[in-house]
């Protein structure tokens, strides 16, 4: 029967997509070649654990991840609180703007911050130097720089996790503290923050896992100075002279850590389901900021939106519209030539734009279809052990793109799939379908099954029920999931960097290739990518779908 077969097929495909690269990486990590040929051995792990660079990379990764997490939590919590609980003028606009970095490319952000803050030549140095302010203390090529840029891009995750419970929190909980004598700050510390702690910790975990595994930012800001983190170290292992055994062994370590974290998180969430933050009660009232509060709140918003959106975009545009970038904007040398070249004249960038569009359109469509089937299986089918299936299908959420890319590279390397767009497409879907599944699942959970049952009882077949009842009801989640995948695929770099070949470069790969020698073309291509991403963001706003908990 279609009703059981289709959702089951979606789940099986999902499990294969997850387990394939896992198993390939695990098996490859145990294969070692020496004079006697290839055989099973722990040699790769031995070599890895004796290599000081491994420990440096792990240390740097933990440091970068932890720094980014702490900074994102502070920023995300503060920004969410400002827009949801205070009367700051313009908070409706800030509420939207705070989310924009969620849609932008961290790689472009990192490169833009090089333009902004590179030693001696940075735009900020030039502008503020003219005012007599020295910014020599900024070291953008460092772990500090990595943490700063990561935090800018991951703050919206924390923000999204905490803003909904912050809004729905029963104000009586806080009011009771105030009435019984607690000051504002005391209440914040002892009532508000503890109540929101489950959401904040969930957000923090997501930020830690994804930011630590991100390839883009350390590549731009740290690798060039010899500071390697886990993803850049793995990338280096696969470059000539490549050592796949070492890369695979490193990958297995990361996967094991991710699975352990996922189990811990599930146990934690399983225990803390009480959620004092209920939907009932009355809406929190807005806190009236005095002028000092307003200035502080406004300053924080400006620093965040300036650092995350305005300054990087401005920097990229200045470079993109200049004939030659000399570190200073020359109004006489403004030109559209770079765009003309990137779109019409340059084979690499032309192909990259087409490839990225194909991957994003096809990938988002296939990913959403897969997500629908899986969500149906998990929420509607009579699934055996749905929790386990859900856990397996959620694994890629924490797996760094480069690790999954490595897995698919190992699978495809001696097959005709190698160096095709297809393998990149498969890797994209494998890495990101759980985002879509989460979104659709969340919505499906909120739909009363009786809505479908009354359709069946009214005489509709399963397909008719899906078409006339389920799909229309799920449409907001479908659009949200599709747009999210589209955005992710347009800017994706980590999973692509090991899989691309000549002819299958994406926009992000082309940006990396061009960053070495052609900043004008790179900036123009980056601006094109920003336009695509912001277009998706506008669609998001127009369709009024929500990003909650995806």
């Amino acid at each position: 029967m279609l009703e059981t077969a289709l959702p089951l097929a979606g789940v099986i495909i999902g499990i294969l997509l997850v387990l394939g690269p896992f198993l390939a990486t695990a098996i490859r990590s145990l294969l070692f070649w020496d004079a006697g040929g290839g055989h099973l051995s722990l040699q790769n792990f031995n070599a890895l654990f004796q290599d000081p660079r491994f420990y440096q990379a792990v240390g740097n990764t933990l440091l970068a991840g932890a720094g980014a997490t702490v900074l994102s939590c502070l920023l995300g919590f503060a920004l969410a609180w400002i827009v949801s609980r205070t009367d700051l003028p313009g908070r409706r606009w800030f509420e939207i703007l705070n989310l924009v970095p969620f849609f932008l490319s961290p790689y472009v952000g990192a490169v833009a911050w090089i333009y902004l803050a590179a030693p001696n030549s940075g735009m900020l140095q030039t502008w503020l130097g003219a005012l007599g302010i020295s910014l020599d203390f900024i070291r953008i090529y460092s772990l500090g720089g990595v943490i700063w840029v990561l935090a800018l891009f991951y703050t919206p995750y924390v923000y999204l996790f905490v803003i909904a419970p912050m809004r729905q929190m029963d104000a009586a909980l806080e009011d009771a503290a105030r009435v019984h004598g607690a000051s504002f700050w005391y209440t914040l510390r002892h009532v508000t923050v503890p109540l929101l702690m489950p959401s904040l910790l969930s957000g923090a975990l997501v930020v830690f896992v994804t930011s630590a595994g991100l390839f883009d930012v350390p590549l731009a800001l740290a690798a060039t100075r010899g500071i390697r983190t886990m993803p850049t170290e793995i990338f280096q292992s696969v470059q000539y002279p490549s050592d796949f055994g070492r890369a695979a062994a490193f990958g297995v370590v990361v996967m094991a850590a991710t699975i352990a974290l996922a189990i811990l998180q599930r146990q934690y969430l399983g225990r803390r389901r009480f959620e004092t933050v209920s939907g009932k009660g009355y809406r929190p009232r807005l806190i009236r900021l005095r002028w000092r509060g307003r200035v502080a709140a406004l300053a924080l918003e400006l620093v965040y939106i300036g650092g995350g959106v305005l300054l990087p975009t401005l920097a990229m545009m200045m470079v993109a519209f200049s004939a030659i970038w000399t570190g200073r904007l020359n109004p006489a040398a403004l030109t559209l030539r770079n765009f003309d070249y990137v779109i019409f004249g340059y084979k690499l960038t032309q192909q990259a734009i087409l490839n990225s569009l194909f991957l994003a359109l096809a990938g988002a469509t296939i990913g959403v279809m897969l997500a629908l089937l899986q969500a149906y299986y998990l929420n509607r089918g009579n699934a055996k052990r749905p929790a386990l299936v859900d856990a397996v299908l959620s694994l890629p959420l924490g797996i760094p793109g480069i690790i999954l890319g490595l897995g698919f590279l190992i699978i495809a390397i001696r097959t005709p799939l190698y160096s095709t767009l297809t393998i990149i497409l498969v890797a994209y879907i494998a890495r990101f379908f759980p985002f879509a599944t989460r979104t659709v699942s969340g919505m499906l959970l909120a739909i009363n099954p009786e809505l479908e049952q009354s359709a069946r009882a009214s005489g509709a077949s399963w397909l008719q029920c899906v078409r006339f009842v389920l799909m229309p009801l799920l449409l907001p989640a479908i659009i949200a999931a599709w747009l999210m995948l589209f955005v992710i695929f347009i800017r994706e770099l980590g999973a692509t960097i090991l899989l691309y070949a000549q002819g299958t470069e994406t926009i992000s790969v082309a940006l990396v290739l061009l960053s070495e020698h052609s900043s004008a073309s790179m900036a123009a291509l980056a601006v094109i990518q920003i336009v695509l991403l912001l277009g998706a963001f506008l669609l998001f706003r127009l369709t009024r779908v929500s990003l909650v908990q995806s």
């Binding site: 009363n448 049952q453 359709a455 009882a457 077949s461 229309p472 009801l473």
Partner: protein
């Protein structure tokens, strides 16, 4: 009366729980059967099994001469193949469709042409009194209106059987009474066969030709509303219908009363024994544990007169048995008052026209033996 729906020995487990444990009943064509019972008694599981939304492990279901489920021959028709209408407690009105689209849905999936569809939708909307809301989006409707949409949707395709799953319990009391009457009028007019699940005895009695009282997956009693109401067959049913239920032991052998019924005397507590009608096919001997049941309305309560004897339990059908008691609590209900009276340590609830008896007052209570029903304690399944 020809049985239109036949349910035979239906069984369904959820894990260790036997949600439905061997249930059989029949519904005549054009008749309404009510499945009555507390939550968790299995009534909704039966309804969902009939609709094809739940698959039983065992038994058979036949609708209009067609087997829609048969555990033995592995027949299990899909919900859409059973030609039903259903009204859920949540109404399940599709929020993305207008009223007319909701109601027209069963016709649309059956490929009924647009013109005919419109005509039939308009006709049924008029019957349920929703013509004015025809093009409204579903989320703009009130609870009562959603209820009517669900009802119209369940009837528009003239199904062979309409299923109701607690359709009125989400409405407030006033609207519930009104809808119950309207539903009755609709039934009389359209003569559909229906199965109606509810935990509200008033609804079951008002709407159904026969009532099945369920407890823990099994049928406690089955009969017409009058039969079930007048003569509860088991302690559970008596308790569920709100009677006073007291455990006791049989004092002596049965006696035939002048009215042709059999009577027996029960010791309820020290100094409190009671004559009542014993309704049991088997011989019952002294010392048998029994329960005595008495409707709250079926007793007479007067302020205690000083010169009357304190306790005179005699077997005299005309004047009844009289006991002295004390009012522990009195609640004013408007035209009536409910009293909690203690007689020899036993609690007794009484509902009677308001008379101004107050807490702490000494009263005398008269109970007619023919109003009091005695069962063996093991009759049916007493839960507790």
């Amino acid at each position: 009366m020809d049985a239109f729906v036949k349910v035979r020995d239906l069984r369904k487990r959820f894990g260790d729980l036997a949600a439905v444990d061997g249930v059989s009943f029949e519904v005549g064509e054009g008749h309404t059967l009510a499945l009555l019972g507390p939550s968790g008694c299995g009534k909704t599981t039966i309804l969902r099994s009939i609709a094809g939304l739940e698959t039983p492990e065992y038994g058979s279901i036949e609708i209009g001469g067609r087997a829609v489920f048969d555990g033995a021959s592995r027949i299990n028709l899909l919900p859409e193949e059973r030609e039903l209408g259903i009204v859920f407690q949540s109404y399940a009105v599709w929020p993305h469709m207008s009223v007319a689209d909701n109601v027209g849905f069963p016709l649309r999936v059956r490929g009924v042409a647009k013109a005919e569809r419109t005509a039939r939708v308009d006709r049924i909307l008029e019957i349920v009194g929703l013509s004015a809301a025809r093009d409204k989006p579903a989320p703009e409707l009130s609870g009562g209106q959603q209820q009517r949409v669900a009802l119209a949707r369940a009837l528009v395709h003239e199904p062979r059987l309409v299923l109701f799953d607690e359709p009125l319990s989400n409405l407030d009391a006033q609207l519930r009474d009104q809808m119950r009457l309207e539903l009755k009028v609709l039934q009389d007019r359209l003569r559909f066969t229906a199965i109606y699940v509810t935990h509200d005895q008033a609804e079951a009695f008002a709407l159904a030709e026969s009532v099945v009282v369920m407890n823990r997956g099994r049928i406690e009693t089955i009969g017409s509303p009058r039969e079930v109401f007048r003569r509860p067959r088991t302690p559970f049913v008596a308790r569920f219908l709100g009677l006073n239920v007291w455990p006791g032991t049989l004092l002596g052998p049965n006696a035939d009363g002048p009215d042709g019924q059999r009577y027996a005397q029960v010791a309820l507590a020290d100094g409190f024994s009671l004559w009542g009608v014993i309704d049991d096919d088997h011989a019952v001997t002294a010392g048998t544990p029994v329960v005595a049941c008495l409707r709250k309305e079926h007793m007479d309560v007067r302020p205690l007169a000083a010169d009357r004897p304190k306790s005179a339990a005699g077997f005299a059908l005309s004047e009844g048995q009289t006991y002295a008691g004390e009012v522990r609590a009195a609640s004013f209900l408007g035209l009536e008052e409910e009293l909690m009276i203690v007689i020899a340590g036993m609690e007794l609830r009484s509902v009677r026209p308001a008379s101004g008896v107050g807490t702490g007052d000494a009263v005398e209570v008269s109970i007619r033996p023919q109003d009091c029903l005695i069962f063996r304690a093991t009759a049916g399944r007493l839960d507790e």
